[in-house]
Structures are given as C-alpha cells and as structure tokens.
C-alpha cells in the first residue's frame, strides 16, 4: 500500500477516534482500526443490540425447533403433522407460571401445531430475506462499483439497465418473478430442484430484481471516492484497477453497502410476506409467515391466535432488522451523533468553542 493512502487512513481514523472519544467522554484512545470503531459504536447502540438479540433468538428458535436442511429439530411436531385437538386448539402456553404445554401457540382447525407452522414459516421468510439481501447486495455492489469506477460506456450501459428496472415498481416486478419462480409445469432442470427448495428459488429470483437501488447508491459512493487523492496516489504507484477497487475504494464504501443491504432485508421480509399473502410467493403445502396470515384471516373471530402469532413474528423480525440497520448506520456514519440524550444535553450545557466535537472526517459522504 502506498504511503499517502496510509496517512490518509490514519488521519481519518484519528479523527474518528477523537470523535468517538469525545462523544463517549472517555480517555483519548489511539490506533483503533475502522472496524474496531464501528464495532464499538455499534455495541454502544442499545436499540441495535436489542434488535440483534431478538433476531438471534428468533433465528435459533426457527432453525433448531423444526429442523432445517434435513436435520431434525427438537420440537415434537412439524408443520404438516395432524394431531388430535387439545382444548379445542387454544394455545397451551402461559407466562405465569411459565409453561409451554402441548401446543404453545395452539392448533388450527384440522389439528396442525401452530408453533411448528410458525417456526417453519419464520425459517422460510428468513431464508428468503437473507438470499435477497445477499444477492441484491452482491449484484448492487458489482454493478454500482463497475459503473462508478470505469465511467464511460460501462456506466452508460449499466445505469440504463438500472433505469429500466427501477421504473417498474418493485412489488409488481416481484409479483411477476414470484410467479415465474413458482412455475412447475415443465420438465426442466429447475423443476426438480424447485420442488424441494421452493423458497430458495423465490429468494434468488427476488434478489435479481431488488438490487437496483443499491447499485445507484454504490455508484454514487464510488464516484466520490475515485476522485480522492489516495486513489490517485495508488494509481500513480502502479496499482491495478482490481487492487484499487478492492483495497482502496471498497473498504470505504462498505458502510453504505452494509447499511443499505440491512434496510433492503427488512423490506424483503415485508415483500416476501406480501407476495405469499397475495398467493404469488411461497405456496402450500409449504408455508411462510405471510401465507399463514392469509390462510387464517377468515378464522379471526373463532381462532384469533392463528392470526396473532405469525403476524407477531413478521413484526418482530422486521423490527429487529430495522433496529440493527439503524445501529449500523449510526456506527458507520461518524457525522451522526449517537442517540444518547443525557450526554447530549450535558454537552449542550457545558459546550464551548474548545470542546466542539470534531465530527467532520475525511471519509466521503
């Protein structure tokens, strides 16, 4: 790595560290890497931590309870088993005294266990969400990065392609590809795979249409970063395009990417549940949270729990992802002050010209 780059990075880090130190009111610490700073800021964000914890619990619960990838889980039922109705299907769990009971979330009319169905649904929804996030993030980064770095005809082509896709409203486009992903009538290679892994296909297809917003953001980021002095210095010292992109620009653009992938994922959960609700996403006999809500909305008057639990899980997953995204945004964007009321009020009271926090850093906007 060339000398000016390191200096630049060092300066940026010092400014960041100073800003962080002033904001947290601790002693000045030197020599923190960007990753360390981001981690520290992220773990200082209460909302994000709670979101992370909730998501981790739901993730573990969903994937271990009914089993995944052919591995059996610890819960005694699965989402298709029919068992005799216990207590007319009302939920058997209680908070005080805490007990799970036979069917903690109750049963539906024909006796399927709602806990198993909800867990299976959460599993499918989370799978789709992660696939959309991963694929959209990768395509968005590649397209946006190439367009922003190489400019010229590459940019023109890629950005016109983005324009073409972005003009189609995402829900409408997703509905169309969801319908394609559910096609089962041909004897193609897809059919055999899709019969067992319907949601994987759905997630991949949805990922292929959700990247456009990300591509635009990443391109903007690359456009600013490629004009910076450390990129010029690297180019003069003979670094290849690949090295400049991966070593010099991408690490600086990764914040924007990660934050927006997280926000895309929280939108993806709602997209998947909405599609399944409309009958264009995950289809029976498999299940997803949106499908569960759709199947059970008529039964609201008689069996409200069938409706409450899947909806609750959609909200919990989406809310926790949103909070994680918010925490990441605060962590990656040094100009945004930390959401801490007490210290903010105190600094406002005691602030003078000398203690104005150095929050402007050389990191691009």
């Amino acid at each position: 790595m060339s000398q000016p780059t390191q200096e630049e990075e060092l300066l940026a880090q010092q400014a960041l560290a100073e800003a962080a130190a002033i904001q947290t009111g601790s002693e000045v610490t030197s020599g923190l890497s960007q990753g360390q700073i981001v981690r520290k800021r992220f773990f200082g964000h209460t909302g994000a931590l709670i979101g992370l914890a909730v998501f981790a619990v739901i993730f573990l619960l969903a994937f271990t309870s009914v089993g995944a990838f052919g591995i059996p889980g610890w819960w005694k039922y699965n989402h298709v088993d029919v068992s005799p109705l216990v207590n007319d299907g009302t939920p058997t769990s209680s908070l005080w005294p805490f007990a799970w009971g036979e069917h903690p979330f109750g049963q539906d009319r024909i006796g399927r266990d709602l806990f198993a169905m909800t867990m299976r649904g959460a599993q499918q929804s989370i799978t789709v969400m992660l696939l959309i996030g991963g694929i959209a993030g990768a395509i968005g980064a590649i397209v946006g990065g190439l367009a922003g770095y190489f400019r010229g005809w590459v940019e023109a082509t890629l950005m016109r392609l983005t324009d073409v896709i972005i003009i189609i409203p995402l829900l409408l486009l997703a509905a169309v590809v969801g319908q394609i992903a559910n096609r089962r009538d041909e004897g193609s290679w897809l059919t055999g795979f899709a019969a067992n892994n319907g949601v994987v296909i759905l997630g991949i297809f949805l990922g292929f249409v959700s990247w456009v917003g990300l591509a635009r953001l990443v391109r903007g980021e690359f456009l600013t970063l490629r004009e910076r002095e450390f990129v010029d210095a690297a180019r003069i010292s003979g670094a290849s395009n690949a090295r400049i992109i991966f070593k010099h620009i991408l690490p600086n653009a990764v914040g924007v990417l990660i934050v927006n992938v997280t926000l895309t994922m929280s939108a993806a959960i709602l997209l998947e549940t909405a599609l399944s609700y409309l009958g264009l996403g995950v289809k029976a006999p498999d299940t997803s949270l949106g499908l569960l809500v759709a199947q059970n909305q008529e039964a609201f008057a008689t069996r409200p729990w069938l409706f409450w639990f899947p909806g609750l899980f959609i909200i919990l997953i989406c809310l926790s992802i949103n909070f994680i995204g918010d925490g990441l945004r605060d962590a990656f964007d040094p100009r945004q002050k930390k959401f801490r009321a007490k210290s903010a009020i105190e600094t406002a009271k005691h602030s003078s010209a000398t203690t104005a926090p150095v929050t402007r850093t050389p990191k691009g906007s």
Partner: protein, 513 residues
C-alpha cells in the same frame, strides 16, 4: 431548460420501451394461460382452448406479440385519434376501458390517504425535531420503526375486526362505560402531557385538562347517544372555529399581529352566520357545488384579510383564508353528520355503517350526502391502513431534514437578530426543510398508483392493483402492460417534476441544459 426537458423525455421514452419489453416477456413467461382449461372436463374443451389461443394470439411467439401490442399502444400517442388500442383482457374487455374504471377506484382510495399521511407525517416530524431527545421524540421514533415493520395486510385484518365489526357493534348501543371513558381520557391526557413538553407543572396542567375535557365529552356523548345522532351545531362550530382561528394565527403570523387575529375571528363569525344561510343550499348539493363553495370561502377569507390590512397584509390574508377553509370544512362535516341517521337506517346499510370490503354499498340510493357518506365509510379502513404504513417514512425524513436545517448558521443568525422562535421555525427552518420533502412527495405521488396493490386486494377494491394481479394470475399480459404503462408514465413524469421543483425551490441547484 427546454433542451433539458426534451432530453429527459427522450430518455424516458427509451427506458419505457425497454422496461415494457421486459415486463411483457416476463409476464408471458410466468405461466401457462391455458392451465385452467387443460384441467377442465368440459366437453367443448378444445373449442374453448382454440378461442383463447385466438383471443390472446398465443400462436405468435411472445417477443413478436410484444411488437404487435406496441403497434396498438403507439396509436395512443396520436392526439384525438381515438384509436388507442391496448388489447383485450382474457374476458374480452378492452384494456383502455378496464383501466379507466380501475384508475378512478385507485385514485379515490389513495388520494385522501396520501394527503393525510403527508400532513400528519410532516407535522410529527417537525414536532419531534424541535423536541429532540424528549420522551415524545423517543416515542414517535419507536412508533415509526414499528409502523415501518407492519405488514399492511395484517393491519388491515385487525382494522376490519376492531375498526369495522367492533365499531358497528358499538353503534348498535352507543354507550361508553364510565371506566372506559376515564381510561381514554387518561391515555389522551398522558399523550397531551408528553406532547406539550416543558416544565413538570405545565405538563401536569395540560395533561389534567385534556383528561378532564375528554372524559366529560365522552360522558356527554354516551348520555346523548351522540354517535347515533351526531352533529355539531352553530355553538360548537363557533367554539371550534375560534380555536382554529387562534391556532392558525399563531402558526401563520403570531398572536402579536392583532390584525391577523381579528380577521381570522371575523371569518369565523361570518362562518357561523353562513351556517344558517347555506343549509337550504346544501340540501341539494353536488360535488361541483361543494368545490365552488370551498373556493368562494377561501376568497371571502382572503378578502377579509385584505380589508383588515395591518402592517403585514399578506399574513392577515393567509391566516384568514386558511381559517375560512377550515371553518367551511366544519360546516360540511356538520352537514355529513346531519345525513348520518338516514344513512345509518338505510335499508341497504342496516345499521352497520363501517364497511370492510368494496368501494360502495351495492344498489344504494340517496342524495349527494348519503352517497358521499357511503363512499367515505368504505374508504375509512383502507385509508387508516395506508396512513399507518406510509406515515413513518415522512416522519423520519422530515425529522432529519429539519434537524439538519436547525443546525445551520442562518438559523443562528435569525435567532441572534432577535426573531421570535415562531418565525425562526416557520419562516426560516420549515421552508427550507420543505425543499427535500417536496421531492420525496413528488416521487411518492408518482409511485402511488401502483403502490396500493395489497391494500386493494385486502379490501376488495377493483383498482389498478387488482387488474395487475388478476392479469398476472391468468398469465394475460395485456392488463399487466396497461397497468405498467400507467404506473411507469406517472412515475417518470413525477420524477421529472421533482427535479424541476427542486431547482425551482432551491436557487442553488441549477439544471444543466
């Protein structure tokens, strides 16, 4: 400027061509349009299949079919040619006809919801920005995150259950138990105390008075069965009008501008007199008449402001005009309430006014007020659902935009030269914060028509979303393309408007021609 617009339009047309080709191919690929016939056991199966193949022109490969469709669609560009041909749907209905109907349905559904969401969202955003890090700010931030995460179909089912079925049951015997009245009063009082901010004493006074007022009003409603026979009457209109006049004056000019306050109050007085004058007129109202009356009302208000004058005539005119509009709205609300009992007892409604599905009660007969009430009762639930899910983004966006502006140097300058906090916020901060919000609003309006697919499905409104999903489920590209064209063209036009508006509002941004 003109070069810029022309260039944008040419690019837009090319993008539209590419996107429409993509959508057509994808739709045609997405399934088998003959699927339901293949599975049927009808004796004339083959004939039916041939008919559909003929109707949808399935023998032509999809890319070629697209160009045939494009040929028809291109005729729409001929002005006054009346040869617009977007093809027919699977039932043989021309798409142009279906689109016209669906567009009206969708616009009725989304217009009110969007306007309300923007108004409420922006006000909430400003209040939270002004009270940064307060209990109100945290509360609204959390609510915004929660609303972000709400699936609209889930909210819709809850609304149907509690908003419609529950409220209709309540209307059968509209008595509010004292404990419930006190509870609602306590919750609203708490919200009032949180919103008002400031010292503990002030909060307690405001919270307590809100609690007392709300509880008393609810007791009164319960005793008089107000929800069965609602109405405002001139006295309430006068009191509420005075409140509106003071509030508007505080926002527009500040209470120090006595002329503005006086003109607003005069307008309220005229409104109360007009209440008696227009009742016979309102009995045979039409939509056009209400619209003309609204314009006349605003003009009267502006005129009052003009003749009152004062050191800032513009402020008086604005305050009086806004007050006049709101008082006029009160009169209309009162007239709706007068029509409520006859709507309630209508043989088609049968005492269950809040509807859960559809866009109107089938075969209902009545005058303008009955019909409008019918539309409104069908719009209530979808509107609430749409507001809930779109409120959050406006609130968050306004808050951050406002916070950024409040830290600007010129705000400090405005404070330093001794301006009142009101004119700093309303005159300097809010106007500048509106610039980015205006572009967001333009984008959102562009995306509106296609954005209510789920809401339309849940509430069985046969709008654009329904047309799209229905076409998709039958693998029928023509309705899908029709909807796509409408949505894409509005989106592009409004994107262009957003860019132009930005440069018009912010002189620092200049369009490169």
């Amino acid at each position: 400027m003109l070069t810029y617009i022309v260039r944008r339009l040419v690019t837009a047309a090319l993008i539209l061509l590419g996107a429409s080709f993509l959508v057509y191919l994808l739709t045609a690929l997405s399934g088998d349009p003959l699927q339901d016939l293949r599975a049927s056991n009808a004796p004339n199966r083959q004939a039916l299949m041939d008919a559909r193949i003929n109707l949808l022109d399935l023998d032509t490969p999809a890319p070629l079919r697209y160009f045939k469709w494009l040929g028809g669609a291109a005729q729409c560009l001929v002005p006054f040619g009346n040869a617009c041909n977007l093809g027919k749907n699977i039932a043989g209905q021309p798409i142009t006809e279906a689109l016209g109907f669906a567009l009206v349905q969708t616009l009725t559904l989304v217009t009110g919801a969007t306007v309300l969401a923007i108004l409420i969202g922006i006000s909430l955003g400003i209040v939270t920005a002004l009270r940064q890090y307060s209990a109100l700010d945290y509360g609204v931030t959390f609510m915004a995150f929660l609303f972000f995460s709400l699936p609209i179909f889930w909210v819709a089912v809850l609304l149907k259950e509690f908003g419609a079925i529950g409220f209709n049951d309540f209307l059968r015997n509209p008595e509010i138990p004292p404990a419930v009245a006190l509870g609602i009063g306590a919750v609203l009082g708490l919200i009032g105390a949180v919103v008002v901010g400031g010292a503990v004493k002030r909060r307690l006074i405001v919270g307590g008075s809100v609690f007392a007022a709300v509880s008393l009003v609810l007791f009164y409603f319960s005793l008089t069965q107000w929800f069965r026979n609602p109405g405002l009457g001139p006295v309430i209109i006068a009191i509420m009008g005075a409140g509106i006049a003071v509030g508007i004056t505080i926002l527009v000019s500040g209470l120090k501008n006595r002329k503005a306050l006086q003109s607003s109050l005069i307008v309220v007085g005229i409104g109360v007199i007009a209440y008696f004058a227009v009742q016979p007129l309102l009995n045979d109202a039409t939509g056009l008449m209400i619209f003309l009356l609204a314009i006349a009302t605003i003009l009267v208000g502006v005129a009052v402001g003009y003749f009152m004058g004062g050191y800032d005539r513009g402020q008086s005119m604005r305050a009086a005009g806004l007050t006049a509009f709101l008082v006029g709205a009160l009169l209309v609300v009162d007239r709706f309430m007068q029509a409520w009992p006859s709507y309630f007892n209508n043989s088609r409604v049968r005492g269950r006014p809040i509807a859960t599905i559809g866009a109107g009660t089938p075969n209902i007969q009545g005058d303008f007020w009955i019909m409008s009430t019918d539309t409104l009762t069908h719009l209530v639930l979808p509107t609430i659902a749409l507001i809930l899910v779109s409120l959050a983004s406006y609130t968050r966006f306004t808050r951050s935009s406002m916070l950024e502006i409040m830290n600007m140097d010129y705000i400090r300058t405005a404070r330093a030269k001794g301006l009142s906090e009101r004119s700093v916020i309303m005159g300097h901060a809010f106007r500048n914060a509106l610039i980015p919000i205006a572009t967001i609003v333009a984008f959102d309006i562009g995306a509106l028509i296609g954005g209510a697919v789920i809401t339309e499905t849940v509430f069985s409104v046969r709008g654009m979303g329904f047309l799209f999903i229905d076409g998709l489920l039958h693998t029928d590209p023509n309705p899908v393309m029709g909807v796509f064209l409408c949505v894409a063209i509005t989106a592009m036009v409004f994107n262009l408007i957003a860019d132009l508006a930005y440069s018009a509002l912010d002189p620092r941004v200049r369009i490169k021609a």
